[in-house]
């Protein structure tokens, strides 16, 4: 069972306390109505599937409840880092 560092609690906790919330750094467009169908499709559905470093969101759902971002290696399943929502991409 992976240990995940919650950047809000500043503790490593077992993965069963967390829920994955998909790819990170996909901001909801400020003006959805102004988006073309193609842009909106990309926002809704198109996601990366990298082999290696992957930026993803997690929620410490059975802990502090906060959403945060993480860089995880999809090959080794190792977390490289975790950081608070709103902080720049690492």
């Amino acid at each position: 069972m992976i240990l995940i560092h919650c950047p809000y609690c500043d503790e490593k906790r077992p993965e069963i306390e967390f829920a994955n919330a998909g790819q990170a750094h996909i901001a909801r467009p400020l003006d959805p109505a102004g988006q073309s169908d193609a842009d909106w499709e990309a926002y809704l559905f198109i996601r990366a599937n990298p082999r290696g470093r992957h930026h993803e969101r997690w929620r410490h759902v059975h802990g502090c409840g906060r959403f945060f971002n993480a860089v995880r290696d999809t090959v080794t399943d190792k977390f490289e880092t975790t950081y608070k929502a709103g902080e720049p991409r690492r």
Binding site: I2, A19, R28, L44, F67, T76, G86
Partner: protein
């Protein structure tokens, strides 16, 4: 009859005889014996029949790598365990063990005919032969093959045993308590580290248990470790898996070695998080591959040494060794010292260390260098072996009653590999050893390839002058895979070891190839003419040895499989004979049958009561979220499809929630209590999902909004009081709220008290009748419920369940999200476009409502269906077609989502999702069912009180 108990020696307690049975026959052993050693001491060499050919099989090993001697143990009704290794079963008085995969008996097995037909069963035989006709596979071939090929029977009764589980944390976890593991523990003992030392056997020592010279050291060491307060010792505990971040799963066997213990947990699952892991799992001796190497009496030389020195059992009276490695020589010398007769040493090598030759000479043992075994005589036990002089290919016979194999050693890198540590090939060992770790773990001793057993030659199959196609030289004993099978796989074009493994099933049995993987690799390597590292290595996966489902499940079975959520009113429903159903994790009353009523009658009565007088319903399971803060209205305005900012305090609104893709995900009526406070309700099953979604938007998209979300689902008991007499029942009990229609209209909320308890009183309706939903603090739920029942008695108040609730709401065309929608339904599809704020610039899902696929014609839309025969209640999920006489497969244009008998209307009603349904009003559609095709007319979804007059009274 070959094995026997030695006069002296071993760690067994000869003062404590133990009586047990095998295949119904009574035997005697001693405390400290395993089933294997005790049966051997009684001369039993035949332990089972092989998987595919039903060949007679005996012991190969003395430890958990044993591939052949799989047995079943009966411990009484429901307590049946198949496929245990006899080498790991400790005997106790009354133990009942049975052999497997034989009929009618172990010694005379009908299935052994397969062995004579063996030439017809090469690798891939089943795949190639039983291809046609396809329909025969499930009905004829597979059942027959399963009956013939197999291991123990699967238990059929429910397991009555209890299994415990626990978490543990330590600084240092040492897995394996042989000399290396014990040394590591002793070395770390004086630090302040919390140490856990685990071993799968009943006592610490590992290989040292078979070396009497080490026993004084072992005794001192075990005493020191036992006395150390920072060392936890777990014996009979198998570390079966190494998971991320030094998380180790282990199962401790607590009672199987004791007679008649059923009142304490049988096994305990340990989940251990360790700072550092030291793997000291040792190495497993490798069999040699030659014709007849599976005959009972052919076993690993180290096993014979364990049986003699640890258990005081000789595996035979005249033992012959077939070696390619020095370790076998040392074993044989130790056996001779223990009083076991040795007839010869055969070594495939041309020369060996002169010290070995001198030692053999001193003991008077005949030595044959540059020789190999090319045949084994005897069916149920070895009687003699044929050996070949490789210098002149001459074959002669040696009489013996056991043949020991010393083919070198394979480090036990299983857990290392679970942890994703890399391996490197060592040509000198002919084995993979640990290389670069992926966790904070290191390997020591035998599993690192670090041993003092001497050296050996690495070979695949012993050379033989015999016709290769006529010999049976086994590689994987448990799955009956021979060297020939692996060569055939290569000839048929398999190149990767992963493919060769799956085609031949080499290494895929319950022992995961502990004794066969490396031999299989060597043979494939020779056949492909490629070095072993170039053809790869198959993956090791947990569990290291088979574990019980009971231990893994622990307490999570039956009623404890998952939590059952109950409301405060649940006990009343239970006491009043409710029939329950599970809705998400909630236990809800489905209906309340009176004496003699079936569900249909009860639901009809409950529905009529609501329409004609008053019904009462436990709605406590509704999800509830308190939304508080200066930006609460703005937040809800962005989340829901309809406008919220203008909603006045004291009023309610039906809220429709979409996902960003434009599809309905939840709905519910919500109330504004104050400018900065809302009481939201969600569907019963959607509460957690909706809160998560709202938190997501609030935290990550709109962190500037000052809003707080709190789940209040379990804070309130909710009682729905519905029907024309609802107000009359409620009025005498409520204080501080004017219940009149003018003061308290439909879709409003008031705060006051009921029976002295503070309440949030909603005037809402999911039935189409005058209705109230009474929210009180959860602990008062049943109290208020009973007061309402008493007050309503004069109106014949009727408790109704979820089934009647479904009928009542369907009569009004109210949808259930998840039943009438399926995650691809938009507000327009569901006929809920009235709930979408047209003037709002944005809300979650708005942009998607203009997506090309969503504005395209032909989408499935929610409509009503009225069957032409009013007595036909369609099946929910039934498919709908436009024309009944189409060729099959017909074009299905939709399906029935809700369907009920409406006692109020005296006919059936249904809702359905139908492609283009909104434009089909009055059309006839067809619902083909077995034996009959039903017809129905498309209608609106509201079947009762179309103008809603009954709500506003």
């Amino acid at each position: 009859m070959s094995g026997f108990r030695l006069e002296t020696g071993g760690r067994i307690d000869r003062s404590q005889p133990v009586t047990f049975s095998f295949d119904g026959k009574a035997y005697q052993g001693f405390a400290g014996d395993t089933l294997a050693s005790a049966l051997l001491a009684n001369g039993v060499m035949l332990f089972g029949r092989s998987f595919k050919y039903h060949r007679p099989r005996g012991l190969v090993a003395a430890g958990s790598e044993e591939p052949n001697a799989l047995i079943s143990v009966h411990r009484g009704p429901g307590r049946f365990t198949p496929n245990l290794r006899a080498t790991g079963v400790e005997i106790h008085n009354g133990l009942k063990a049975f052999s497997q995969n034989r009929w009618p008996s172990l010694a005379m097995d009908f299935g052994a005919i397969n062995d004579r037909l063996g030439m017809f069963f090469p690798a891939g035989f089943y795949n190639k032969t039983f291809m046609w006709p396809r329909s025969f596979w499930d009905r004829v071939y597979e059942p027959a093959i399963r009956k013939m090929a197999g291991l123990g029977d699967a238990p059929t009764a429910e397991d009555p045993d209890v299994y415990a589980s626990t978490y543990a944390h330590c600084d240092l976890l040492i897995i394996g308590a042989g000399p290396a593991g014990i040394d590591a523990a002793l070395g770390a003992m004086d630090s302040n580290k919390r140490i856990v030392l685990i071993d799968e056997q009943d006592e610490l020592g590992g290989g040292a248990l078979a070396d009497p010279a080490l026993w004084p050291w072992l005794e001192r060491s075990v005493k020191a470790l036992t006395e150390a307060t920072n060392v936890t010792i777990l014996t009979r505990t198998t570390a079966f898996g190494f998971y991320h971040d030094n998380f180790i799963g282990a199962v401790q066997r607590l009672t199987d070695h004791l007679p008649n213990v059923t009142d304490t947990p049988r096994e305990k699952l340990w989940r251990i998080r360790a700072g550092e892991v030291v793997l000291a799992q040792g190495a497993i001796e490798r069999p040699l591959v030659f014709d007849g190497n599976d005959t009972p009496g052919v076993m690993l030389s180290s096993a014979a040494r364990v049986f003699a020195n640890r258990y005081g059992v000789a595996v035979g009276k005249a033992l012959t060794l077939m070696a390619s490695h020095d370790s076998g020589w040392h074993d044989v010398f130790a056996l001779a010292k223990a009083g076991v007769g040795i007839s010869a040493i055969i070594d495939v090598r041309k020369s060996v260390d002169s010290a070995l030759l001198h030692a053999a000479e001193r003991l008077g043992i005949k030595v044959y260098l540059n020789h190999g075994v090319v045949g084994v005589n005897g069916r149920h036990n070895v009687s003699s072996v044929e050996i070949c002089d490789y210098s002149d290919q001459r074959v002669h016979r040696i009489n013996c009653d056991a043949l020991l194999m010393a083919g070198g050693w394979t480090p036990s890198v299983h857990l290392w590999s679970h942890s994703k540590g890399s391996l490197k090939w060592r040509d000198d060992l002919g084995a993979y050893v640990p290389d670069v770790p992926n966790e904070n773990v290191r390997c020591i001793g035998g599993c690192f390839g670090d041993w003092d057993f001497g050296t050996g030659a690495v070979i695949d199959v012993l050379p033989t002058p015999k016709d290769q196609s006529r010999i049976k030289a086994f590689v994987d004993y448990q799955n009956d895979v021979t060297a020939k099978d692996i060569k055939l796989a290569v000839r048929e074009g398999f190149r990767s070891i992963e493919h060769i493994k799956r085609y031949t099933t080499n290494g895929m049995a319950t022992d995961q190839g502990k004794t066969s993987n490396l031999n299989g690799l060597q043979i494939a390597s020779s056949a492909l003419n490629k070095p072993v590292p170039d053809i790869g290595l198959t993956s090791f996966r947990p569990p290291y040895t088979p574990q019980t489902f009971g231990a893994l499940a622990g307490h999570a079975k039956g009623a404890l499989f998952q939590p059952t959520r109950t409301t405060n009113i649940d006990s009343w429903a239970q006491a009043h004979g409710a029939v329950f159903e599970l809705v998400a994790q909630w236990r809800r009353a489905r209906y309340f049958p009176k004496a003699g009523e079936d569900m249909h009658a009860a639901v009809n009565r409950e529905c009529v009561a609501v329409r004609s007088s008053v019904g009462i319903f436990d709605a406590s399971t509704l999800g509830k979220i308190e939304v508080v803060g200066p930006d609460a209205a703005e937040f809800l305005n962005r989340m829901y499809t309809n406008p919220w900012k203008a909603l006045e305090p004291g009023r309610c609104r039906y809220g429709l929630l979409l996902k960003e893709d434009g599809f309905i995900t939840d709905d519910g009526v919500s109330a504004r209590l104050a400018p900065d406070r809302f009481h939201l309700t969600t569907t019963t099953g959607g509460a957690a999902r909706v809160l998560n979604m709202m938190e997501d938007y609030l935290q990550t998209e709109w962190p500037d909004l000052d809003v707080w979300l709190t789940s209040t689902t379990e804070q309130y008991a909710v009682i729905a009081l519905q029907g024309p007499n609802a107000r009359k029942v409620l009025e005498p009990l409520v204080e501080g709220i004017d219940l009149s229609a003018e003061a308290f209209p439909h879709m409003a909320i008031r705060e006051g008290t009921i029976c002295g308890i503070e309440t949030r009183l909603f005037r809402v309706s999911f039935t189409g009748e005058l209705g109230f939903e009474i929210n009180v603090p959860t602990a008062y739920g049943r109290f208020i419920w009973e007061r309402l029942m008493a007050q309503g008695a004069q109106y014949d108040i009727t408790a109704y369940g979820t089934e009647a609730m479904h009928v009542l709401r369907a009569e009004k065309g109210f949808i259930i999200v998840g039943q009438d929608t399926d995650g691809t339904v938009t507000p327009f599809d569901a006929g809920l476009d009235w709930a979408v704020g047209k003037k709002k610039p944005d809300f979650v899902g708005k942009r998607s409502m203009a997506r090309p696929d969503i504005v395209a014609p032909g989408r499935k839309q929610l409509v009503g269906l009225l069957t032409d025969d009013p007595n036909v209640v369609l099946e929910e999920g039934a498919q709908i077609v436009a024309y009944p006489n189409q060729p099959i497969p017909m074009t299905m244009i939709g399906h029935v989502t809700s369907s009920y008998w409406s006692e109020t209307l005296g006919r059936s009603i249904a809702m359905a999702l139908v492609a283009g349904g909104h434009d089909m009003m009055g059309d006839t559609l067809y619902i083909p069912m077995p034996g009959k095709t039903h017809t129905a007319k498309v209608s609106g979804t509201v079947f009762y009180d179309l103008e809603g007059a009954r709500l506003h009274v």
